[in-house]
Symmetry: C2
Subunit: 226 residues, 2 copies
């Protein structure tokens, strides 16, 4: 499948390697596709990322990446999401499923991070308003990148994940992909309904960050227990 990943940091690289290595045609989109030697935040350079792959993938502009994708994944930092989507271009996103895995975390004032948008709005909703022609489905934002692509690494994959978005068939399709691509168990995927539920999954992040600090590891999930 032709997959566009917007964002070249740890999340984009982790998703991209997993999807490329399992046979998908991945194009990572970035503001600076020519800077292959530059370290990407805490993550490797894209040159090192490309060298780590078992199959060929490529790096392009946001617009080229989005044009390539049958599905587009927003893996930019929350801060950069709207600008990246503007660069990607509505004509390259219209009618497509846009999987949003970003969080509106603001580390600029130190720890703990706050959210740049919350409570009566969310980044997921803002993104849907920014690209009304795309079918935004928010998911994966409640776990660390390594766990997004390998849920079995914690408790044999017996922990939960949320999907939300305004288009029901898009939510169901993404749930199928989460299983096919990464092995998320269907019974662990909770459909939260429309995109306003992104408020809930994004506002979980302050608790996630605190748990990360107290547990001393980012390799954890949460389960809904009934």
């Amino acid at each position: 499948m032709k997959i566009s990943i917007l964002g070249s940091g740890a999340v984009g690289q982790t998703l991209g390697k997993s999807l490329s290595d399992s046979g998908h045609e991945v194009v990572i989109g970035t503001r600076t596709p020519a800077s292959l030697d530059e370290k990407r935040g805490y993550a490797a350079s894209l040159k090192d990322w490309l060298a780590s792959l078992t199959r060929r993938a490529s790096v392009a502009t946001f617009a080229e990446s989005a044009a390539h994708g049958e599905v587009v994944i927003n893996a930019t930092s929350g801060r950069g999401s709207i600008e990246a989507l503007n660069h990607a271009g509505a004509m390259n996103l219209d009618g497509k499923i846009l999987i949003d895995v970003s969080n509106p975390l603001d580390f600029s004032k130190g720890m703990p991070p706050s959210l740049t948008i919350c409570n009566t709005d969310s980044l997921g909703e803002l993104i849907q308003r920014s690209v009304p022609g795309a079918k935004v489905v928010k998911t994966l934002n409640t776990v660390t990148a390594e766990l997004m692509v390998a849920p079995h690494k914690v408790a044999q994959g017996n922990h939960g994940l949320f999907v939300c978005g305004n288009d029901e068939s898009a939510r169901k399709q993404v749930a199928v992909w989460l299983n096919e691509w990464f092995g998320w168990k269907p019974e662990q995927i909770v459909d939260l309904g429309d995109i306003t539920a992104a408020r809930g999954t994004e506002m979980y992040l302050p608790l996630w960050v605190r748990l990360y600090g107290q547990l001393g590891t980012s390799m954890f999930g949460i389960s809904i227990v009934r």
Copy 2:
């Protein structure tokens, strides 16, 4: 043990009946202790509540209740918490553990509720600032009232609970009480550290409310899965 419960709604009544029936000396504090016949929001009247008890408890003003308690539980609605604590009086709270189970939910603009305070502050922190002489420990605010006092009703009690507060020994004491009073399993109680973690547990509420809607029941918990 002499226990003060501030708040006469569903949460205060549920906590109060459980603690009274198991032998504690409970005094519920309310703004309107004389109005025993009045329904308390969605909950019963205090006359009916008193009649439901297997042992004797009483109803008093916030100040009388707080003066009685060796420990004080804030079970008011988030909206009314600061006023209730002002009525309770610093001299009746100083040096005591104040267990805060409230959430800053605002239903005034309809569903979904928003939070009256979040992101860079929390109700738990606001309460600690309002009564600096008390040892505020936030807990139980992530589950419905029925589950607070009977965690075994879901998955044999195998689901998580959070405690946070600035005083470590108070957090440990509350964890012991949660086990002794209600049967919360020690291994399920996660110590999140100081009171700023209340941001995380209160900001979980929008996700809780959404899950409540989607699952069709409030009888659920979350587990941290490692």
